[in-house]
Symmetry: C2
Subunit: 146 residues, 2 copies
């Protein structure tokens, strides 16, 4: 769709890193300074809602979402995982998979809530380092699906 930023399929290093691309979807490691390890799974075709997909497509997408959840848990040991498909601003299916920590900037609110605190620079640096291991862990996990 002409005006959809997810259809444009461009990604600057400031926005994040392309981790994996398949025929149907792609996985991004989002560059979010407050939430290292934040991943996004984007359906390649312009579709607004999960129930616009076929049953097989939904399954495929959710399998990937949960593979990424598992990789994030394995690599980063977060206190909680948040999974969400909102799309109010960009109505093109994309899932946020977000490792949350009790000292992160928004905890215990959502990643879209008001800030509640500031994580220490030490915590953030450690998480950023761990997040650097995610692309390889995600690619391996996806490869093992097939």
């Amino acid at each position: 769709m002409a005006n959809c930023i997810l259809c444009k399929d461009t990604l600057t290093p400031q926005e994040g890193e392309l981790v994996w691309r398949g025929d149907d979807c792609r996985v991004i490691l989002v560059n979010d300074p407050d939430l290292p390890g934040f991943c996004r799974v984007i359906w390649n075709r312009h579709v607004a809602e999960m129930t616009d997909l076929s049953y097989g497509e939904r399954d495929h997408l959710m399998t990937l979402v949960f593979v990424i959840e598992e990789a994030i848990r394995h690599v980063m040991h977060p206190d909680k995982i948040n999974v969400a498909a909102l799309g109010n601003m960009v109505p093109h299916i994309h899932w946020h998979v977000i490792p949350r920590f009790k000292d992160d900037a928004f905890f215990p609110g959502s990643a879209w809530s008001a800030r509640t605190q500031e994580a220490s620079a030490v915590s953030l640096a450690k998480r950023k380092e761990l997040a650097g291991k995610l692309p390889q862990a995600i690619r391996s996990a996806i490869a093992n699906l097939h």
Copy 2:
């Protein structure tokens, strides 16, 4: 788990209405004055993350989530559906399935973001009336799964 409000499994009319209960999960129509039609699918057993469930359990839960999404779309014709499993405050799996409208109190933010506007009383009354049709629509849709 002793201190988990979702394990306690109580629900006052102020909080919402129990729409359906199965062996593994239950569906609530949440009483949210800003977001009529807001539904919640709660896993009955105390489990924190989707990837703590078996593959079959995940499938079962996501099938229900998307059945509810479809029922909400059919009954309420929202501008967007939001689907999220956060659990930062209550780490017991529950999915929020939320019909969103361009004039609702939080649009285009998340349902946990700062208020952006106030929907008119007329819009809210109309949506609340439609939401009243959801329990029956959801029960029928779930019955048709079997």
